[in-house]
Symmetry: C2
Subunit: 246 residues, 2 copies
């Protein structure tokens, strides 16, 4: 499926670029010939995944219905909403669900607590696995080589303050036997958070839920005290998923 992989790379590159791209730029960045790139863009455009104005290409409107479909129908997201709702109201903190995608994590659901973190709703935001409680817990049980990849990917993606070595990263990961991660001022200054992994059949978790709070509203002990609550929420979510046909 060479052509399909290539098409996906073009599509990814258009997202990375954050601005309209010309054909030749895309061809160069993606390492493919002009005719090939052009043909790919034309097909993607037919399906609305790409828009064109004059000579520049960008992500097209068809991604919106796709995202909507995901948010409304994905069993994980649908099941998570009420669960997050409950933790948020029990703890008064903002509860978030992240899912791992490659070497990043994506925020897929959030329910605000009493004092919402008002850095605009970042649904769909790509965040590093190396920084923040919800990221770290996803790689807490990763092998040495995977950690290397994780660190390399974070640097390659240009994520903030991720100029880490594996050693540095490991020092921030939860110690053996601890099933939650904690972060303070990692991803954003003045923000504390704790996170636990959502268990799944495979060993490596690919989802995590987090409680996040501005420093003014919560302290480290207070957040950590909520971990059992979080843990239960994660388990409940996990069970809901096993139950459903998925």
């Amino acid at each position: 499926m060479r052509s399909l992989s290539r098409a996906m790379e073009v599509f990814a590159e258009l997202q990375r670029a954050e601005r309209p791209q010309r054909l030749s730029d895309l061809a160069r960045t993606c390492g493919m010939s002009l005719p090939t790139t052009l043909r790919i863009l034309r097909v993607l455009q037919d399906f609305g995944m790409v828009s064109q104005t004059d000579k520049s290409y960008r992500i097209g409107p068809a991604v919106l219905p796709a995202a909507r479909s995901y948010l409304e129908n994905d069993p994980l997201v649908v099941a998570a909403r009420p669960v997050l709702q409950q933790v948020a109201s029990q703890t008064g903190q903002t509860a978030s669900l992240y899912t791992r995608l490659g070497f990043e994590r994506i925020l897929v659901a959030r329910v605000d607590g009493e004092s919402p973190l008002r850095y605009d709703l970042p649904l769909g935001k790509r965040l590093p696995l190396t920084v923040g409680a919800a990221g770290k817990i996803l790689v807490a049980s990763a092998s040495e080589e995977e950690l290397q990849q994780v660190v390399a990917a974070a640097i390659a993606a240009g994520h903030e303050s991720s100029a880490f070595t594996v050693k540095e990263l490991r020092s921030r990961l939860p110690e053996a036997g601890v099933d939650y991660a904690y972060s303070a001022d990692e991803r954003a200054t003045g923000v504390l958070s704790v996170a636990v992994a959502v268990p799944n059949r495979s060993g490596q978790p690919s989802e995590s839920i987090a409680l996040t709070s501005p420093v003014e509203t919560a302290t480290e002990p207070a957040l950590k005290a909520a971990v059992p609550e979080l843990r239960r929420a994660a388990n409940r979510l996990s069970e809901l998923l096993e139950g459903s046909v998925y």
Copy 2:
């Protein structure tokens, strides 16, 4: 680009289905062999566009960053936001931007007025071109044959109350010389709206902006009185786009 087109069809089918699909279902619905469908799904899965649990496939989380990228970076959407904001505050009504995608339209931006229409934020929702002011204005200047396609597509997509003939549709379209469309109780009962097309270089518009209001808050004359305001907003948006490098 046969394989790419087919992949896009599989992807579209997963959205249409609104629930996880098995391999054999997808293969049948899309009219392709099992091995081919499987290979496509695997590649899409590698890129996070598709998720799999056990034997069922669904839209994957990668669509969220894509949608986010679109909403944050698309010149049209970005330029539209302040324009919608202004019309909304000037008129007190909810202002929306739609873009045409195939034989449907998609809501890509909305700014609520004083009395917001609380049928949840339908960003990314697919709506028919045959129903509602913002749909009709997009096909107001369409040829006879295109109208046939439009009607056929609306029926095929199973859109509500779209069991129209071309004749019926035409009777609801704006008359010659009128550059806005009006609708009452078409898409939703108790909702009035007016819409104008956003001019572009090609004759056929592909975007429209609408003012929408519950019957309790506005009357037909009141909405129609706001048309000049809307018209100016559409022109301003159009100019903003011509200006930018896009």
